[in-house]
Amino acid sequence: MTWLNAISGIRAAGAGDTQAAKALRAACELPMDSEAFAGFYERSARGVWAYLARVSGDAALADDLMQEAFVRFLVAGAPEEGEVACRRYLFRIATNLLRDHWRGTKASSMEGMAEELFVAVDVSGGVEARMVLGPALARLKPREREILWLAHAEGYSHKEIAEIVGVGSPSLRLMLFRARRKMAEMLR
């Protein structure tokens, strides 16, 4: 668009701020200022990383997805209900990113896939070796890992977990009940 360059010259010659420019500038503004975001990031990032790393079993993937989750959180616009809602929204983004990653790896329904496919091999041996729940978690379905983590590690209510993972509240109760029983049997 070479004529755009010419127009920019006209603008530089003295054209003032326009309505379109103001609207565009507003579209580029992020929903939090950088200091507020830094505080929120400091308080939330480790929890989100822990969720991603343990549910995926892959620390490198958790690094990437955590950064992407925060970027999407900022670009999409943070909820106005406060930090608790922001954090919940962040977990929702992280859950969707995990699911997108798995779907990208194997293009089919996540629920119908073998659990082994979701257990990433950490070549460094670091995360897997340090995991307390490692073997038991690896034997659960991805969604079971998600809901158990959100319920017992993050302390979310049934309603909040249903919102984060995108299932109905009654289904969630049953899924959580079954997953917890399965996990308890493996831990005992």
Binding site: M1, L4, I7, S8, I10, R11, A15, T18, A20, A21, A23, L24, R25, A27, C28, E29, L30, S34, F37, A38, Y41, E42, A45, R46, G47, W49, A50, A53, R54, A59, D63, M66, Q67, F70, V71, L74, V75, G126, V127, R130, M131, V132, L133, A136, L137, L148, W149, H152, A153, E154, R173, L174, F177, R178, R180, R181, M183, A184, L187, R188
Partner: protein, 155 residues
């Protein structure tokens, strides 16, 4: 598989989440958990996940908030640029189409060998069309200019 609910679940959960399970809570609650399958499951699973979370949080590799902030700004700017570029592209295509129509009309009007009377009749007949086309071109130009100025201001 029946979903039995125990009325003491919330107490057990609170003890586990508060880090008081098993040593920091009442003996009476420990006895209850020992005899209640549902609360026993909650205590075992809850304590295991709390320990796992504590370990995972300690090993978390958290980058700089500034980098994330910068990446979000870049992405938001790109999205805004694309949103502006879409109507701009449409306007350019429209202006091109109008210009082509005007060229065709001019070509028809100025065909050699026509009598001037006939030519004048055609020109006067199509003058309205030419004016409309010229007006559209000017309008598209104004819209394009304002969008371009907005884009430059933001950049």
């Amino acid at each position: 598989m029946t979903m039995r609910v125990c009325e003491r679940e919330s107490e057990v959960l609170a003890a586990v989440r508060g880090g008081m399970w098993p040593t920091g809570c009442a003996e009476e609650l420990r006895v209850h958990v020992g005899g209640c399958a549902k609360c026993g499951e909650l205590a075992v699973v809850g304590a295991a996940f709390q320990a796992e979370r504590a370990a995972a949080v300690m090993e978390a590799r958290v980058g700089s908030a500034g980098v994330v902030w910068w990446r979000a700004q870049v992405r938001r700017r790109q999205a805004a640029m694309e949103a502006v570029a879409r109507p701009m592209w449409g306007a350019q295509m429209f202006a091109l189409a109008v210009a082509l129509v005007m060229l065709v009309v001019a070509g028809v009007v100025w065909v050699p060998g026509l009598q001037w009377d006939a030519v004048w009749a055609m020109v006067s007949g199509s003058a309205v069309l030419l004016c409309v086309a010229a007006g559209v071109v000017v309008m598209v130009g104004v819209v394009g200019l304002s969008l371009a100025l907005g884009r430059e201001d933001r950049g």
